[in-house]
Amino acid sequence: MSAPSESPSRRIAILGNPNAGKSTLFNRLTGLRQKVANYPGVTVEKKTGVCELPSGSRVELLDLPGSYSLRPGSPDEVIVRDVLLGLKPDTPPPDLVVIVVDATHLDRNLYLALQVIEVGRPVLLALNMMDAAAALGIRIDERALETQLGVPVVGISAARGDGIGNLRRLMEREIEPSNAHFRKLPPHLEKAVHKLEGHLPRHPGLPERGRDDFAMALLLDDGEDDVLARSASPETHDTVRELRRELARTVPDWQTRDVQGRYGTIDGIVARALLAPGDRRDIVRDRIDRVLTHRVLGPAIFILLMGAIFQSVFAWARPVMDVIAVGVSSFSQLVAGVLPEGPLRSLLVDGVIAGVGATISFLPQIAILFFFLSALEDTGYMARAAFIMDRMMGGIGLSGRAFVPLLSSFACAIPGIMATRTIDNRRDRLTTIMVAPFMSCSARLPVYALLIGAFVPNRWIGFITLPGLTLFSMYILGILAAVVVAFVLKRTALKGGKPLYLMELPPYRIPSWHSIFLTVRDRCLLFLQKAGTVILAVSVVLWFLASYPRGGPQEVEMRASIARAQKAGNAAQAETLQKQLAGVALSHSFAGQAGRLIEPAIAPLGFDWRIGIALITSFAAREVMVSTMATVFNLGDAHQGFHSLPETLRTARDPATGALCYTPLTGISLMVFFVLACQCMSTVAVVRRETNSWRWPIFMVLMMNALAWVTSLAVFQGGRMLGLG
């Protein structure tokens, strides 16, 4: 056996149709030795792992995204094509390609397989789900298939582990690059492809035989394929345009002719290799679908399931988050006890530890949500959910797959935004990401609770109390904002050809704990690595803004008074002064200055500089607003101050005029602001990660805050005109 530190020299890629059992095979071959990252510049996941072969040598295994065709229809499929054709500089082409083919759907799976074989790399075909095929009475002559395709074929069942030993042995063998050719093109098209081939630059990674694929892809490109367009010279593009014009005249259906021809070839292969077609009717599936997609039962079950998931993210995560909060705060106290008071202690406790605590407090919600989502995805239910919801979501221009991420965002937008990965279409996905933070998340609840407690009288209105009605209205307002913004975005910035909705409804399967565990683990790790660093950095910046500059004359004097009070043994007075000191320090800090600076901008909404400070500090997390208000009003931190805070806000008076600082209208205006504004650095960080650019998070912050400002202005000024001020 080679030393574990030795990096694997051979690279093997696994590819296949979605639902062909590719990931199950990948997990089976790598165990836990796998890691997930992103392909640079895109949000497609790159899963790699280490696989040990019978001789003890190790190879690097690359799990390529599920794909229907090398002529890409989604970002996932672009990656597969680029890796295979050697167009990705960061991912060297594989030394061997293992094509996973679902034996129960041989013809459809062979479409991709034939394309891959034609590229001319060493290829191995793993005929998966042989157990399921046998159960259906399907019999396949593996040797005949081998002869027909010209590549080694091995029957396996990735789920049960059958045939994996054979596969490992074959993976070790030196396999000749395949030279089979199945494509039959009309002569004019063949000539055009050949002509274009001559214009193509030589790529070191592109096999000689893959060149005509490249040429064909260039001909078919409708302008969506950046990688392809960039890799060809302007002269080549001229040739492409010329050839297209010519083809349009000579072969009217040239853009689809090869597809039909290929299925013809497949029918011939299947006729020779398929000994018995079996009884294909999946009765269990029919029975389950009759219930799960039933006109009445289907939506009812869907709503029930989603409600259960939402409730568990909301409720089950809470105790774990509380434990984390207690752990973080006791760790803070520990550090505070060890270090002398000063800037370093403050930085560590209020900046770094608070930032790390904020990051890990999201993990329970992420883990719970992705546990359910990956379990439901693996059973095949999520495709049915999208089938049920597509019509409704289509009304605002989103796909059925957008429903689950949006629902999850009521608990927290972070896992919700991470869950948008199942949406194929880029524009649909971006729209969903942009509107997800409008859903009132659990971090807004403390803010709503504070403001409702302070300003909304507890009166019954019919069957609901006024506070309950207010809270409900805030949730509805968020949903309305999401609908309007999605509607506008789909018609402006994210306008584009209506994407084709063509989704497979896979057979029902029992999910594997192992794969669910891996999904949950990967989600959590990716969040910690990518979003965590940004959250930590912003926490430190916010800490700095709220702590400096320090030591103003008033502060020095107050510290002296505190020392005097302590010396005199007047603990109560010292404590009161201490609370006042915190308030004075905060209002003199950069954050306090910024609060005053933005006061003219937020005064028309009914907010003063103290709320201004809270708006700034709540960027760390919305609930920080509550503790900031407590500090500003000299109540000490949130734990002690919370109970008296609503009363304090309600009765606070301007010392100069004696008028009330805040009216109920201020409270409503502020709640509306919190519904709509983007005040969550973690959301910004996760959007940055999921869109792989700063453009979208910046747009989101500007758009949401502008909307919040305008709406709060309308509420406050409109309310005043109606005499509610």
Partner: protein
Amino acid sequence: MTRDPKASHSADLPLDRIAPGGISVIRQLNGAPSIVRRIMELGLVPGTRVEVIRLAPLGDPVELRVRDVHLSIRRSEAAHILVRPV
């Protein structure tokens, strides 16, 4: 893109007009070439049998069975697939 209009026949229907349970054979596909190509790549080439399984609870999309694979497609897109009932 219309593929050879002569092949179209009065007995051909758009796929969205076939009721659940109905089996038909694909005759031709119309529409933008890139979309037609995608639909065909998933196995819906002329000459293939298609069974309409059911409609979604809200009446759209529609579930199809093609080459033993179940696919769902919006009715607006199914309208571009011309079939002949068998």
